[in-house]
Amino acid sequence: MIEGFDLPAVWFVLLGLLLAGYAVLDGFDLGVGILHFFAKDDRERRIFLNAIGPIWDGNEVWLVVFGGALFAAFPMAYATLFSGLYLVFMLVLFALIFRAVSIDFRSKIHSPRWRSFWDFGFFFASFIATFLFGVGIGNMMIGVPLDDRGVFIGRFLDLLNPYALLVGALTLAMFAMHGAIYLFLKTPPGRLLVRLRSMMWHTWGIFLVLYLLTTIYTLMRIPRAVANFEHLPWAGGIVVLSVFLIANIPRSIYRRRYFIAFFSSSFMITSLVSLFGIALWPNLVTASNNPAFSLTVYDAASSEATLKTMLIFVLVGMPFVLTYTGIVYWTFRGKVEVPEEGY
């Protein structure tokens, strides 16, 4: 640890990158799912679905790999978090499966009632999954009760505390905004495009309000969230950057630089994930009842040898991953087309 790399810290950053990758990528397709509720007719709904058709599946892989990497690098935290937040994660899994079923099932029977059932399912599952991700993050910020072995000793209902619910709402607004910008890029000219423009504005406004509320709540109630700012001078820079990026979204929309708006939104999400990491450090799971029971990255980490091996795996594997993710997005770039006849 002293000579060379602080491997648990390196893995903490890598997991942050995987989480950010997931939030940016699946974030927009979950957002499309949330906005799907506001689509007016079947053609619009199909534009929504077709915009994410080839890629949503690959985006979810980031979550799976995040889970696997957490298991490998920090098994103590993996075990504590997923067993502690048991029902939250089970509901997330159900929502993700139900969402996949809805996407695949809606077009199978040509009955309006059938279709609207699965359309609602797609919206509802996207909504619930996003909200619960936020609730999970909120609880990690605020901390959960642990015993001296790092086992969760709280109750499910305690996880639905006001702060966690607020972060859940913030995540909903953030993904909805991110999804609206993505959809705007994929939608062909027409009435929907005009409405998406106002959706971008509205979701940004709601996001801004919730962002401010969450910031105030965090500063008032979670002092340890900013404790690291004292000895990490660059952390303040990330706060400034995130504020700049949030402001740059409406600026880019106003100037019709929609790609820049999307990239701003993506980097803004990344910066918020970074701030989440800075707030947690050096803990992975913060014990709300007794700081000594918190699981730090060093308590929770696998052996040095394993972290090193896994780091090699990542260094070998991720360039390939990024390359073919790039190829796939390049192949399916451009606006969605939907046949006009019959509507």
Partner: protein
């Protein structure tokens, strides 16, 4: 209400993993066929191969989508339901799962998009490349999963060390928390059972993929539809099936010998072998653990000794050498193992017979046999499932099987009471591996929810497959395909990507026909 968390967690894991495992072997097996079909198309440029590749790709995509949806659960279930296990093995087992994600999942899901939605957007060469990548992804994935599971069965390459907190052993109630850490990665990867079990699993997948294709093709042949397409698909799949079925028998034999050496209690349970000594091979029967015998047995005398030790008089360790609390569930192990073997024999006989008829040229006239093939896909599905049931139930009562203490000849060492000795601190009992934070009602709730949602998912799968099979492959139109010059050039064309990974693409076409 006092619910049994261990039992419920085991039921949930069994249910979710068995449901999931309907699909991966199917996609691994079909992946091989897709590579073959597209390769043939590139070589010969015969449109029939392209038609076939397109049709089987669309079926493949449905299977893949359900496999992914049910697979996400598996990545998290160790943490949610088996927290103690996760803490104990994360350093070793978690690494294999993470490696699977990095090396396999991204590869599969990324290139699958090209496979399904890219027919008109990329060149045939690049499409073929994508198919190869998806097929490889499936195989990579199976490698890491088998490494992880084989390490649970026959652990190697690790050491048991105290967990550290602030650099000092983490003591709870006077006892240091221990865990397994990787000492030698290559010994973990190539632990004593990996290669045998990987071979067996992959061959099982090839058989299932082949039978799945034969089932649908046989149905077309019976209905007189898409005859040329169906006969070619059937013949190709039959070749894969007959070779794989015969190879599986050999692979099974090597696996049984490996189990005999490293997990003697499991082998004894598989074979219903209660008394140590020369062992008969039961062809039929139902074990009766209370009376320590096999009822309704027809057995080959000394057959097991011959197979497991290559010596009819060699003694085989029976269950009497194990403490009762170390016995696997004998009935379930025996039955799942025996039915799997019986199904394997059935598949060999069936494919050999069909190959003989195919060489004589009369295969496709035998309508009864085509019907047999339509339904025989159930057999490899069941055999794959039962093989895993035997492997996992036979490993009980352990989640991590402890090493057997052996002498210089590799024979187990007995303790004073006459029982086989385990290196107990290396093992982990299933009953001790669950999450302490999770209550019975919570697991019951998730079991019910999984039951409901997987029920729906299964219906979706059957329904979508039925629709696709009813519709059949596109009619072959020679010369209709325009060759693209390159992938980047093709990507510059306007993008038309409708629908999800499975089906929505056809929607517009159908509706305009309404």
């Amino acid at each position: 209400m006092d619910l049994d968390v261990v039992l419920l967690s085991r039921l949930q894991f069994a249910f979710t993993v068995m449901f999931h495992y309907l699909f991966p072997p199917l996609t691994i097996g079909m992946g091989i066929v897709l590579v073959y079909l597209e390769g043939m198309y590139l070589r010969t440029r015969e449109p029939i191969y392209e038609t076939a590749a397109k049709f089987w790709t669309s079926i493949f995509a449905v299977n893949f989508a359900v496999g992914v949806a049910s697979g996400i659960v598996m990545e998290f279930e160790f943490g949610t339901n088996w927290a103690v296990y996760s803490r104990f093995v994360g350093d070793v087992f978690g690494s294999a799962l993470a490696a699977e994600g990095i090396f396999a999942f991204f590869l599969e899901s990324g290139f699958l998009a090209v496979l399904v939605f890219g027919w008109d957007k990329v060149s045939p060469g690049f499409h073929f490349f994508s198919t190869v990548m998806v097929a490889l992804g499936g195989i990579f994935s199976s490698i890491w999963i088998i490494v992880a599971n084989s390490w649970q069965q026959t652990p190697a390459g690790h050491r048991i060390v105290p967990v550290l907190r602030n650099g000092k052993p983490w003591i709870v109630n006077g006892v240091a928390m221990m865990r397994a850490e990787t000492a030698d990665l290559w010994s973990v990867v190539f632990n004593p059972s990996t290669v045998n079990r990987l071979t067996h699993t992959l061959i099982g997948a090839f058989i299932l993929g082949a039978f799945f294709i034969m089932s649908i093709s046989a149905w077309y042949i019976l209905k007189g539809r898409h005859l040329d397409f169906a006969r070619r698909s059937f013949t190709g799949a039959l070749l894969l099936a007959v070779l794989s079925s015969v190879a599986q028998l050999l692979s099974g034999h090597f696996n049984a010998r490996m189990v005999a050496r490293y997990q003697p209690a499991k082998l004894a349970a598989f074979e219903g072998h209660f008394q140590t000594g020369p062992a008969d091979l039961h062809l039929t029967g139902i074990p009766n653990p209370e009376e320590r015998r096999v009822d309704y047995s027809i057995a080959i005398p000394k057959g097991l000794s011959l197979l497991a030790k290559h010596d009819p008089s060699a003694p085989v360790i029976g269950l009497d050498r194990f403490r009762p609390e170390d016995w696997p569930p004998v009935r379930l192990s025996f039955l799942s193992y025996h039915i799997m073997v019986a199904l394997g024999i059935y598949l060999i006989v069936l494919t050999l017979f069909a190959s003989w008829l195919r060489m004589r040229g009369s295969l496709f006239d035998k309508r009864w046999l085509m019907w047999v093939f339509v339904f025989s896909v159930v057999a490899p599905f069941a055999a794959n499932q039962l093989g895993w049931v035997a492997a996992e139930v036979g490993r009980q009562p352990w989640t991590v099987h402890p090493r057997v203490v052996t002498d210089a000849q590799g024979e187990p060492v007995l303790d004073e009471a006459g029982f086989v000795q385990y290196v107990l601190n290396e093992g982990l009992r299933t009953s001790a591996a669950i999450s302490e934070a999770v209550r019975g009602e919570q697991v019951l709730a998730s079991v019910v929810m999984f039951g409901l949602i997987y029920g729906v998912l299964f219906l979706v799968w059957v329904f979508v497959l039925h629709q696709k099979i009813q519709r059949g492959p596109e009619p072959v139109t020679p010369g209709a395909h325009t060759t693209r010059e390159g992938f980047l050039r093709a990507a510059e064309d306007r993008v038309l990507h409708e629908g999800s990974l499975t089906e929505l693409k056809e929607e517009g076409r159908e509706e305009s026909n309404d």
